[in-house]
């Protein structure tokens, strides 16, 4: 019976995750490792794109895992773990973004669309730094992480309508900032 259950779980990632969560509640270390291994890369990638800093992103991902494991007992639905984990991560990233001071944008003489990938990344970083944390997070989750509106709403813990309006404002502001930056050259 147990073997059958584990076979079913292996075929269905959601069921497998559910099984890991219930095993973690019983104190299973191996399940803890499995869950970390499954979400590690995506979580760090999301945090990296939100914060634009790999080391900070790793810290945030670690903190998110620890916080999620601490609260795992309070989780009503075991299937909700991944959403809960990403929500913690996005919230922690937004807290850090709010603390960061927006840097003054200074551009060099190279055209952004003619520059290399590194220059483009630096420019995007500087433009994103000028957006408020909520708009920046919405834009990054949708455009860079390619998440659906539902996922963005779940991770940011806001209604879909709010995601739509924030995304519209964020796109508009980003476009204006980019046009201004190009126009200055």
């Amino acid at each position: 019976m147990i073997e059958y259950a584990s076979q079913v779980a292996a075929a269905d990632p959601v069921a497998q995750e559910r099984q890991w969560v219930s095993r973690i509640r019983l104190g299973d270390e191996a399940a803890l490792g499995c869950l970390v291994a499954r979400h590690r890369n995506r979580l760090i990638r999301t945090a990296t794109n939100l914060l634009r800093d790999r080391h900070e992103a790793e810290d945030v991902a670690q903190e998110s895992f620890l916080k999620a494991f601490r609260e795992i007992g309070k989780l009503r639905d075991d299937r909700a773990f991944s959403g809960y984990l990403y929500r913690i991560c996005v919230r922690l990233c937004m807290d850090r973004l709010r603390l960061k001071r927006a840097e003054l944008v200074e551009f060099d003489s190279a055209q952004p669309h003619q520059g290399g990938a590194v220059e483009n990344k630096v420019m995007v970083e500087k433009l994103l730094a000028q957006l408020p944390a909520e708009l920046r997070a919405t834009l990054v989750l949708r455009e860079m992480e390619q998440l659906s509106y539902e996922e963005v709403a779940e991770y940011m813990h806001v209604p879909i309508g709010t995601v739509r309006s924030r995304l519209h404002t964020a796109r508009e502001r980003f476009r204006k900032l980019w046009i201004d930056a190009v126009g200055e050259r």
């Binding site: 760090i44 794109n49 790793e58 970083e125 455009e143 190009v182």
Partner: protein, 145 residues
């Protein structure tokens, strides 16, 4: 097809195009307006370039996976241990002992002693002669007469 309203509609549809499939009518409107309004066409091109650059600026996770996993699992174990009662029990016992000690000292401090001022002892005090003559009262030198 042209005018401020048309430009606003064009802008809205260009935004919406990235989130949903536009209808044929909407696509036709965009194409026609783009052909007529140079400013909107230019804005659309710049917008396209800006978001293209944003999508290209994605940073990939670059992490030592094994090290990260071990660290998180280890920290989670420490966290779990800290939260368990066994971890806190010595501290709880220590705290209880400290509370008892404080309570006992407060009780002692408020205790008046065996002889109360309102009840002086009845009888005489006796001088006990010791085996050390130097300590007898007549031999003690008083500095202040």
């Amino acid at each position: 097809m042209i005018g401020e309203k048309a430009c606003v509609k064009f802008d809205r549809l260009v935004h919406e195009r990235s989130d949903r499939a536009l209808s044929q009518k909407e696509e036709l409107f965009i194409n026609q307006h783009r052909a007529i309004c140079t400013a909107c066409a230019q804005e659309e091109e710049l917008s396209f370039m800006a978001f293209d650059m944003l999508r290209e600026a994605v940073l990939e996770a670059d992490v030592d996976s094994g090290h990260f996993d071990l660290r998180v699992v280890r920290l989670a174990k420490v966290q779990q241990a800290k939260e368990s009662v066994r971890y806190w029990s010595p501290a709880l016992i220590g705290g209880a002992v400290a509370c008892l000690a404080v309570f006992a000292s407060l009780k002692l401090a408020s205790f008046d002693g065996s002889v109360k001022k309102t009840h002086p002892p009845v009888g005489q005090a006796r001088r006990v002669i010791t085996s050390f003559p130097d300590l007898e009262l007549p031999n003690v030198i008083h500095r202040n007469p």
